[in-house]
């Protein structure tokens, strides 16, 4: 289990990293929790690794003047879990169950987003929250909406020469409730189905905005727009939540594997969507 030979370069600055990314055979490494296992299996064989792990400018969580939260790409799950981001109900739910403590101590937000594992939890959270993914290249800065960024299994809209620098979450709001509910595969802990839900009631008793996103179900984490549409104007009765949740995998080719065939996964997508919405509404009071 030894990777192929490669050259190693530790980037001393973001500009130095950006000068190297995108050249043929080059891969960046952050925490290495996804990349190194692939390299050990020789499923990934980069000729050169650019280590961005020490770039202080990509670390940490800060509040922007308009109340949004900016999360540096190199922020680890463990750091995120003790940052103001934990106050977002769905992140507070999702973070403690991602991998194990050793994975959370090394795995970074930027790595999770760039890697886009079809069962990755964080992308679903970012989709539901309508987060922004900020990328940089020699050409300049590019801001992607989470919706549309995760294009397929292990593929994203990120260009070859771009690095993710930051994730931006909308500011917390009192009229929103959110939750994350997932069915984990027993041995690996990865989500068979993971559902991120946020519901907003502006004024009255009816839901005026909803963000529902699923992971583990399709090729890539996705927004369940039919569920969202069914929730708008909804007062959140158990029956209406259950009805909305039936649309959890509308238009999606549902995965089947040894852990869960597509019929079971489809049923679990509905069940966990219902639970996530109910929990989100419960937090709204």
């Amino acid at each position: 289990m030894i990777p192929n030979l490669f050259d190693y370069q530790r980037a001393a600055s973001l500009d130095e990293a950006l000068a190297l990314v995108g050249s043929p055979g080059t891969k960046v490494i952050a925490g290495g929790m996804s990349l190194l296992p692939l390299m050990k299996l020789r499923l990934a064989n980069p000729e050169r690794l650019v280590d961005i792990g020490r770039l202080a400018e990509l670390k940490g969580v800060r509040e922007l003047p308009d109340g949004r939260l900016a999360i540096g790409a190199l922020t680890t799950y463990s750091e995120l879990a003790v940052s103001p981001a934990r106050h977002y109900g769905l992140l507070g739910d999702a973070l403690p169950d991602i991998g194990d403590v050793q994975v959370r101590n090394r795995g970074t937000v930027g790595g999770a987003v760039a890697h886009c594992d079809p069962a990755s939890d964080l992308p679903a959270v970012l989709l539901a929250l309508d987060a922004e993914i900020v990328a940089r290249s020699k050409r300049g800065e590019n801001v992607y909406a989470a919706d549309g960024f995760f294009t397929g299994a292990f593929s994203t809209a990120l260009a070859e020469d771009e690095l993710i620098t930051e994730i931006r979450l909308p500011g917390p709001r009192d009229d929103a409730g959110s939750a994350y509910a997932s069915l984990a595969q027993r041995a690996s802990g990865y989500s068979i189905v993971g559902v991120a839900a946020i519901v907003i009631k502006e004024g009255g008793s009816a839901i005026t905005k909803a963000g529902i996103a699923l992971t583990g179900v399709g090729d890539a984490p996705y927004r369940a727009k039919a569920v969202e549409a069914a929730l708008i104007g909804n007062e959140g009765t158990p029956e209406s939540i259950a009805e909305a949740a039936t649309h959890a995998s509308d238009g999606v080719t549902v995965n089947g594997d040894i852990h869960a065939d597509s019929e079971y996964r489809t049923a679990m997508a509905v069940a966990y969507t219902r639970r996530a919405i109910a929990a989100a509404l419960g937090r709204l009071g």
Binding site: I2, L5, D7, V101
Partner: protein
């Protein structure tokens, strides 16, 4: 393919500065076991699943089979060999595993203890659930987890009682 260079790394392991020249593809666990001959850190799965290779970096548990030695350049690493005190007295976690029969073959034990040390640094009085959550990344194939949880709970109470006091059993190095 062009000639590949080795990289010079300097880090602190169990309080002692250590250096070495490593291929970039060398994992931290190989550097510890093969170059520094610290074989207390084990390799179970070599695929980041079992936690036998767990060491701490600045007190945080990591899987050393899934970290390049070059990534640990400059780091402060602790392995199971660094847990006992200079006078040979056992760390509270080692005491706990001894007292509560937290091991059988002992293969998983160094990793369990290093993962638990990360927990106890953050939480001096963990519940059984919190202990189980903290060792989720560590697999034991023989003891079962029950006594391991008891061992970590015992260690926590030893620490709270003041682990700096000499403990009843001790070994000499």
């Amino acid at each position: 393919m062009a000639e590949h260079m080795t990289e010079h790394i300097a880090l602190v392991v169990n309080g002692t500065p250590r250096e070495g020249d490593v291929e970039p593809r060398r994992m931290l666990v190989q550097f510890l076991r093969e170059d520094l001959e610290l074989t207390g850190t084990h390799v179970g799965c070599d695929t980041s699943q079992c936690g036998a290779c767990t060491v701490t970096i600045d007190g945080m548990a990591i899987k050393s089979c899934t970290m390049l030695a070059v990534q640990a350049d400059g780091a402060n690493v602790k392995t199971i060999e660094g847990m006992q005190a200079a006078d040979g007295s056992l760390h509270a976690l080692q005491e706990g595993f001894w007292a509560k029969h937290g091991l059988q073959c002992g293969f998983c034990t160094p990793g369990m203890i290093m993962a638990a040390s990360d927990l106890l640094a953050r939480n001096a009085d963990p519940t059984d659930d919190e202990i189980r959550h903290a060792i989720e990344g560590n697999i034991c194939r023989c003891t079962g987890y029950h006594n391991i949880v008891l061992a970590i709970r015992e260690a926590a109470s030893l620490v709270r009682a003041g682990a700096s006091a000499p403990t009843p059993t001790s070994i000499t190095a």
